[in-house]
């Protein structure tokens, strides 16, 4: 049964220094508020996992929370580069950032394997690319029936996965809809999970395209309206495209970023 509580308590109880943490969300339903709470609580040495690290990961990296990033596409979607990410990779600022780089297909299948209790996944992937030469977690595997060679990637099993969803009921059952990304797999692959939701309701009325994560598959739920801003929650909010654009100049400059960081640290947690 998922416990319903505050974001600050949930992050404090679930996420420790050195953990492997996935904040998932494929442009939609990105758990930004939870990321900011991780920054406020000063977590360090995290291995951050995400298919599409964008602004919130740029912020976590710039704040020095991460020692490693496992990912397949890091950028500010529709705008350009992640400058804190670049600064960490190119200049080790504020701390060095190790990277483990995959493709989307590889990352998605790593979560699928993790959710399935398997140690690895098989795909047609990476063939001919330079990725296997820089990423140790890509290996060949031979089909025992046809002899064909394919690619194997190891399961991802984060210590904690954090996602944002539209709703939960008072028992902690979680409902989300619209673009679903890899959130279900990321939650099921994780040892512990936190779901921030737009609202806690009495009953999860059916919604076309919605999936439900039963309460017993989730560790904690926190009600954080707008917790996906600047991304959006379909049916609740619109994507704040201006914020994505505004992030570019902030992240380009260490001092601007420091100012932003100070403000976030002073915010009262949700």
């Amino acid at each position: 049964m998922a416990e319903i509580g505050t974001l600050a308590d949930a992050v404090g109880e679930l996420i420790a220094d050195g953990d492997v943490v996935a904040l998932e969300g494929f442009t939609h339903l990105i758990p930004t508020a939870a990321g900011h709470e991780i920054i406020r609580q000063g977590r360090r040495d995290l291995t951050l996992v995400r298919m599409t690290p964008d602004i919130v990961y740029d912020q976590l990296i710039g704040a020095g929370c991460a020692r490693k990033l496992v990912f397949s596409w890091g950028g500010n979607p529709g705008v350009g580069s992640l400058h804190r990410f670049r600064d960490a990779v190119q200049n080790s600022w504020p701390v060095p950032l190790e990277i483990e780089e995959h493709s989307h297909a590889g990352m998605a299948n790593r979560y699928v394997a993790g959710a399935s209790g398997l140690p690895f996944a098989v795909l047609r992937g990476y063939v001919g690319t330079d990725l296997p030469s820089v990423t140790a977690t890509i290996k060949p595997i031979t089909c025992p029936f046809t002899g064909e060679e394919l690619t194997a990637v190891p399961a991802l099993n984060p210590d904690v996965t954090v996602i944002h969803a539209q709703r939960a009921d008072r028992d902690g059952n979680v409902q989300l809809w619209g673009l679903l990304g890899v959130q279900k797999e990321a939650v099921l692959a994780a040892r512990r999970s936190l779901v921030t939701v737009e609202e806690v309701v009495d009953e999860l009325t059916p919604v076309p395209g919605a999936i439900v994560l039963p309460s017993w598959a989730v560790t904690k739920v926190a009600e954080v309206p707008g917790g996906a801003h600047p991304s959006y929650a379909q049916g609740y909010s619109e994507r704040d495209n201006a914020y994505y654009a505004a992030w570019d100049p902030i992240s380009r400059d260490r001092e601007e970023f420091a100012n932003w960081l100070r403000e976030v640290r002073e915010e009262v947690p949700a």
Binding site: F26, W73, R86, R239
Partner: protein, 250 residues
């Protein structure tokens, strides 16, 4: 009507799509072109986005691959693992429509690092995203890219997505099923792989572009097709559709 070279590129790319083709659409230039095609001569195009939408029919340009309008107008919304495993990987997609930070003479794509080595790059780019498997699995790949001598290079610094490798036969040797990049559309012209060598050859110049412009913006000694075509300029209808799409997305 006057138009920019970017508009020419978008229009030329849009014209490459037709009928009921299933197109796996990267964000940015490919998405602009695919949506323009759907709004003009190819209303039945099936647009597939890696965020998990099949048959999206947006009436404006999506701001990102995760724009809500892609889900709201789709025939089906599916998970990200499903889009890669059930729809891309088995070869159900006709055209993979990709951008590139760096593209080489054999159509290999780099969106990972430029300069230095991988661990100490001069420029760290976003990385692979869906592109390696899009480039591998779609029947054909079209690349849309702004052409400069820095982006159009003899050999990419990092092969993020495999094109034709070092030439003819490399894809077959690796067991890749799709044909790889069969068309590259830039702001200057159109390139296609030579049927014998798979080297990208200039086959069309956009209206108003000189051959020397292309040579200056190509990092290798570019070959030119014996019968060099001319891309007709954007029609008024194409331009107004393109501008309306962009306007609506503001």
């Amino acid at each position: 009507m006057t138009y920019t070279s970017d508009e020419m590129m978008a229009v030329a790319a849009a014209r490459a799509l037709s009928g009921r083709q299933r197109v796996f659409v990267g964000i940015g230039l490919p998405s602009t072109a695919a949506n323009l095609a759907r709004r003009t001569h190819a209303p039945d195009l099936v647009l597939v986005y890696e965020s998990g939408t099949l048959g999206s029919k947006p009436d404006r340009l999506p701001a990102s691959i995760g724009d809500g309008i892609l889900a709201e107008t789709a025939d089906a919304v599916i998970s990200v693992p499903e889009v890669f495993n059930y729809w891309l990987q088995p070869g159900r997609i006709d055209v993979g429509f990709l951008g590139a930070a760096q593209l080489d003479r054999f159509g290999n794509i780099n969106t990972t690092v430029i300069g230095g080595d991988y661990h100490h790059p001069k420029v760290r780019l976003p990385g692979a995203g869906g592109a390696p498997e899009i480039a591998a699995s779609c029947r054909e790949v079209y690349v849309v890219v702004r052409q400069t001598s820095r982006s159009f290079v003899e050999r990419v610094d990092f092969v993020t997505s495999f094109g034709h490798g070092t030439g003819k036969g490399d894809r077959e040797r690796l067991g890749l099923r799709g044909a790889g990049p069969t068309l590259v559309i830039t702001d200057l012209g159109v390139f296609r792989p030579d049927p014998d060598t798979s080297e990208l050859v200039l086959t069309d110049l956009h209206e108003g572009v000189a051959l020397d412009d292309v040579r200056a913006a190509t990092g290798w000694d570019v070959k030119v097709a014996p019968e060099l075509g001319r891309t007709p300029p954007p029609t008024a209808e194409e331009l107004s559709a393109l501008r309306a799409l962009k306007e609506a997305s503001k």
